[in-house]
Symmetry: C2
Subunit: 110 residues, 2 copies
DNA sequence: ATTATTAATCGTAATATTGCAATATAATAA
DNA sequence: TTATTATATTGCAATATTACGATTAATAAT
């Protein structure tokens, strides 16, 4: 059905999945890496750096923004995007807790 | 088009996206959490724990296995699934490097 | 005012994902 | 052999995602 049954999972599980999902596309990975690399805000050059059409980049940016991982400031005719530091830190805590589960039990069985 | 243009991204970006994608569904998050919680191998009880049909669980397990994050040992009529520790550790390194990008430049701009 | 420039939105085609019923397969039990 | 049990596979319907051309909106420059 293509429709995820979010109601049968916990808040936490759904939150982890939502963050992971947004990282589940190389274009969004590349966008974030670029935003981190350029310490001054990047505007439309993402379209030049990443070889995807402008509407496609815009769409990916929207997803990152709707999750709160980036913010965009309008600056004249262009828009200045950058990482939302606090939210990124919060997201990291969530993801680290999930990824570090193996720290508790290192036994393994089969 | 629904088709990701992997060829325009780096190996690294695609690898990060692939790992993230598999975590991008709450069922797979729940499966992994359960496999970590039960220190002895879990077999078919995933279907009881997670309220999804058996073929659906089986499909999610397949995806986790194809990425190497879990392994399954046939044990009589049932299959014993557990975390692939080494691969999990490798995956963590990849993801941590991505998630910890903010450690380098904490400036922010807008 | 007119004309660039930049980015968002709309519409749409192609493809992917999710979920399950039905069925198949494989190993054990009776 | 014939159930029984556990898991995998197939096929399919519903929905989501990706990508982009065309268009729009908003500001800047001339």
């Amino acid at each position: 059905m293509g429709l995820t049954k979010t109601e049968i999972f916990t808040e936490s599980q759904n939150r982890i999945a939502l963050f992971a999902k947004v990282f589940g596309h190389p274009a969004r990975v590349a966008i974030l890496q670029h935003l981190f690399k350029i310490n001054t805000c990047v505007c439309g050059d993402l379209v030049n750096v990443i070889k995807l059409a402008q509407p496609t980049i815009s769409q990916h940016l929207k997803e990152l923004k709707s999750l709160g991982l980036i913010k965009g400031n309008v600056e004249g005719t262009s828009v200045c995007y950058c990482i939302h530091q606090e939210n990124w830190t919060h997201m990291k805590e969530t993801m680290f807790q999930f990824l570090n589960q193996d720290e508790i039990k290192k036994e393994g069985c089969c």
